[in-house]
């Protein structure tokens, strides 16, 4: 194991994060808020980063899969720990465990919060909270690859560990250019949403915070009642459109940009994803519409919850706990499904669902025709058995971890609905759940060990299980 290089890279990541903390620092200065928490955070980050970079300068810059898993997992933990400092250092804000939970929930783009009242927090801290989601959305490693040339060929190992998916798509021959293209689209879409929200009447600060957390499919809001508090249909439709865009594979956005829009329309995963959006929206309209409501409002509210949960954003415009049992069951299903592969969304991802269903169909086919040769195909190409078994292993691990998470919540004395939905929302990086953690509840009432468990679930979900799961294998640590 090339641990020197791993530590060295983590040092660079901390230095980079110090650069990002400058943004809330400037904001605090602008709004006349205390700049002390950010100055201290930056100092700690710079000192720690400089020490690591100086004393762990590696002779060998080779990254094997093992180092890849270690760097990526370690990076997310280190970045989250450092990102928790501003919450702790802001007077009267959060304790250490709560700050860690909030920070992990941010970087993993989950959006579960322990903050009961956002109005008492300084604006600079709210911006840092939104920014942590934005940085985590497209991936901090991908960002590093895009701007730092220090990774060389090994970058692909990191790319695969951070954006695992069933298949890794390079849109350009060079990885750094791929990362730059994806980040470029991400930045452009964020700017576009900011403009739309400004036009719809939000102020610069809130439009920026919400653009950050929409494109990251994060879900932190500056308001206690989330996006619903604006009471504006226009804002809600804008957010729906951009949540959808964030839930779509960024490779498809890239293809549209380079004029290959036609093949995008034929993309099976996209069709499936949009089909799910349409299906659940119609289902909610049918189950929650009351006589006397305007149908257009019901459609908007249904579409908003569907897209918000499916893309794992987690904004709310209504309290789904007031919905019928049939509708709440659909909410739980949405917590699991997730966005498209290659999007900023979490969950099990539509490509895995699609391939798992096709694999099931092929299995049934082989039962009926024992001698049949029936491969699973995607986009006209046979899907390798190794990819399929990877998907089944992923699903098994995903639900095992979700069950363990739910068990921990239940052990703390919570009801089954709270336990299951809290665990699923954490591993799926969604945000809200049902029961005690519904749309307008928060996670502050959980004991510390539950918060840590859920934070670990979030990291598992964001890194799509295997990167962290490798850590639990004894072989991983063997020389």
């Amino acid at each position: 194991m090339n641990s020197r290089f791993v530590v060295y890279l983590l040092g660079w990541l901390l230095l980079m994060e110090a650069g990002f903390v400058c943004v809330p620092l400037l904001t605090a200065a602008l709004f006349g808020e205390s700049i002390k928490p950010y100055v201290m955070t930056i100092m700690i980050a710079v000192i720690a980063g400089a020490v690591l970079v100086q004393f762990f300068r590696p002779s060998d810059r080779h990254i094997r899969p093992r180092e890849g898993f270690l760097v990526v997992g370690g990076a997310w933990i280190a970045v989250s720990l450092l990102g928790a400092l501003p919450y702790i250092l802001t007077p009267g804000a959060l304790g250490a465990v709560d700050a860690f939970f909030e920070s992990v929930s941010g970087f993993t783009t989950t959006g579960s919060t322990v903050i009961g009242d956002t109005t008492v927090l300084p604006r600079s801290l709210l911006l840092w909270r939104a920014m942590s989601q934005w940085l985590g959305g497209m991936g901090i490693i991908l960002f590093t690859i895009a701007i730092l040339p220090l990774l060389g060929i090994g970058g692909m190992q990191l790319f695969k560990a951070e954006v695992p998916g069933p298949v890794a798509d390079k849109v350009q021959p060079r990885l750094a250019n791929t990362a730059r293209s994806l980040w470029g689209i991400y930045v452009a879409l964020t700017a576009l949403e900011w403009l739309c929200l400004r036009v719809a009447g939000l102020d610069t600060f809130e439009a920026l915070c919400h653009s950050f957390t929409t494109l990251a499919t994060g879900g932190f809001s500056t308001r206690n009642a989330s996006v619903g508090e604006f009471g504006s249909a226009a804002v809600e439709w804008i957010v729906i459109v951009f949540m959808l865009a964030a839930g779509i594979n960024f490779v498809l956005h890239y293809r549209v940009l380079v004029g290959r829009g036609k093949e995008v329309l034929r993309d099976a995963e996209l069709r499936y994803f949009l089909g799910v959006v349409l299906g659940f929206t119609v289902y909610f309209v049918l189950t929650v519409h009351h006589a006397g409501d305007r149908i257009i409002d019901t459609v908007r509210i249904s579409a908003f919850q569907t897209v918000s949960l499916l893309t794992t954003t987690g904004y709310a415009t209504t309290d789904v706990e007031l919905w019928s049992g049939a509708a709440q069951l659909a909410v739980i299903v949405l917590l699991i499904l997730g966005g498209m592969s290659g999007s900023t969304g979490g969950g099990i991802k539509s490509l895995r669902t699609l391939l798992a269903v096709r694999s099931l169909r092929a299995t049934v086919h082989r039962l009926i025709h024992p001698h049949a040769v029936r491969p699973v195909k995607y986009a006209g190409v046979v899907v390798e058995d190794s990819v399929l078994s990877g998907i089944w292993a992923f699903l098994t691990a995903y639900f095992l971890i979700a069950i363990i998470g739910a068990a921990v919540v239940a052990l703390a004395g919570y009801d089954v609905l709270t336990a299951i939905s809290a665990s699923l929302t954490a591993i799926g990086n969604v945000g809200p759940g049902l029961g005690e953690v519904g749309s307008y509840d928060n996670f502050v009432h959980f004991p510390g060990f539950v918060k840590i468990t859920l934070a670990v679930c979030m990291l598992f979900g964001r890194l799509e299980i295997f990167t962290l799961l490798a850590w639990f294998s004894p072989e991983f640590w063997r020389r």
């Binding site: 086919h365 025709h369 024992p370 001698h371 049949a372 040769v373 029936r374 491969p375 195909k377 190409v381 046979v382």
Partner: protein, 448 residues
């Protein structure tokens, strides 16, 4: 006309023989010395021994003065070189080449350009088209469209239970007063003839009808042929023909089951095809065919590369209850042996390519040629020029020899069956059926 045929295999020798019997001078180029002497003995053609893809050999065969060049060896690459040498170096007026891979065909087209006198024939494609045209007509041994599909010639074996048994041909008009239905050729006791009104249909006859497509189902019903229980097709053999056929049937939304004995072949077929059920197993495994429902299929097509196995698979499927079986058989001896065994249709890609090549080889007014089973009878579609004997008097007074039948005329946009008192007008298109012995007289009758 002077014609060079390169390749003395089944296709080349058959073509050489047929073109020679049309009255043209044929030079056959063949590399195998053993085959050369055999060809010399059997056919009235000149045989040149050598590699037909080389310029000296072609020059020896007289390519500088030849009017038509046919490349019919078993190798696509050789055929391609022969055709390109003939086309691009010697500017032979008409070049026909046999290319099995469609990819080669694309390259050939790019080089020679859009030229109607440069023809690539794909025997596998022809076989697929033939099977597809036969499929909607259970019981037919052959179906050939004429006049852009306004009339088809379809051959059926008359079974003892058939309603046609004992029918006088002249009474067919009474059975089908509205649309053209007539018998253009029949085989009884191994002998072919072009019939006339006083002949009657008997059980065991192989009868070729020229019918309006709308009457096909009625003719089939009277013959006692039926469709299968399910509109489903089983194909044995993931050969290029099998896969092409499955593709086309998928396009027509017909459910297809493909049985292939090779594991790797089955896997690549499954990767390529969409809705087809691909089964890994032997097409002669009775248990397997039963398991996969061969008893209920409408069509069973055996197109493995082993043609004897194709026959066995078809007989097995037939026994299980498949409504309609097709076997791919190139060997004419094997084909003639199994004609009466109950396999509905025997498809020979090689002989089909002979038919297509002849169609292009014949010049002038003849538009479309079909060799009916055993090549003993041919059907022509031709435009009648003003100078032809046919337009001079009513048909009955022309004194056409026995064995030549003017079966149909396209008059306006209708197809009519001409009677003895009818007269053909100049410029009309006719369908003429002849025995092979009379083929060489066709040009006389049409041209002068």
């Amino acid at each position: 006309m002077k014609v060079i045929v390169v390749g003395g295999g089944l296709v080349g020798s058959t073509l050489a023989e047929r073109i020679a019997s049309d009255g043209h001078d044929v030079v056959l180029v063949e590399q195998s010395r053993a085959l050369v002497s055999e060809l010399n003995d059997r056919f009235d053609v000149q045989v040149v021994c050598g590699n037909g893809a080389t310029v000296p050999v072609l020059e020896e065969a007289g390519i500088a003065t030849c009017d038509m060049l046919l490349a019919t060896t078993d190798s696509d690459e050789v055929n391609m070189v022969v055709a390109l040498v003939g086309s691009e170096i010697f500017r032979v007026p008409k070049v026909i080449t046999r290319l099995r891979h469609s990819g080669h065909e694309v390259g050939f087209r790019r080089i020679v350009g859009d030229n109607a006198q440069r023809v690539a024939i794909n025997p596998e494609h022809a076989a697929v088209e033939k099977i597809l045209s036969l499929m909607p007509v259970p019981g037919a041994v052959d179906v050939v469209p004429f006049f852009e599909g306004q009339l088809v010639i379809a051959g059926f074996l008359v079974r003892p239970k058939s309603e046609f048994n004992g029918l006088l041909l002249s009474h067919l008009r009474l059975l089908f007063p509205g649309n053209p239905v007539l018998v253009v050729a029949m085989r009884r006791d191994g002998e072919w003839r072009v019939p006339h009104g006083e002949d009657e249909i008997r059980a065991g006859d192989l009868v070729y009808f020229a019918v309006d497509p709308v009457e096909l189902d009625n003719v089939m019903a009277l013959l006692g042929h039926r469709h299968g229980k399910e509109r489903r097709v089983m194909i044995a053999g993931a050969t290029r023909i099998g896969i092409q056929l499955a593709h086309r049937l998928e396009d027509q939304k017909v459910p297809v089951t493909l049985v292939e004995p090779g594991r790797a072949e089955a896997e690549s077929a499954a990767a390529e095809l969409e809705s087809t059920t691909v089964i890994h197993g032997s097409p002669t495994d009775r248990e397997l065919l039963g398991e996969e429902g061969a008893d209920a299929v409408d069509g069973f097509v055996a197109c493995t590369d082993n043609h004897e196995e194709n026959v066995v698979a078809c007989l097995l499927a037939r026994k299980l209850g498949a409504a309609h079986t097709f076997a791919l058989v190139d060997n004419p001896a094997l084909a003639s042996l199994i004609a009466d065994l109950g396999i509905d249709a025997v498809i020979s890609p090689r002989l089909l390519s002979v038919g297509v090549a002849l169609h292009f080889a014949r010049t002038g007014n003849v538009k479309r040629v079909a060799a009916l089973l055993d090549d003993a009878v041919e059907a022509f579609e031709a435009v009648v020029p003003g100078t032809s004997r046919l337009v001079q008097s009513p048909l009955a007074q022309l004194g056409l020899p026995r064995g030549i039948l003017v079966a149909a005329v396209q008059r306006g946009d209708r197809i009519i069956v001409p009677g003895g008192a009818d007269r053909i007008q100049p410029g009309e298109r006719v369908l003429i059926v002849t025995t092979a012995a009379m083929t060489s007289r066709i040009d006389d009758i049409l041209e002068r």
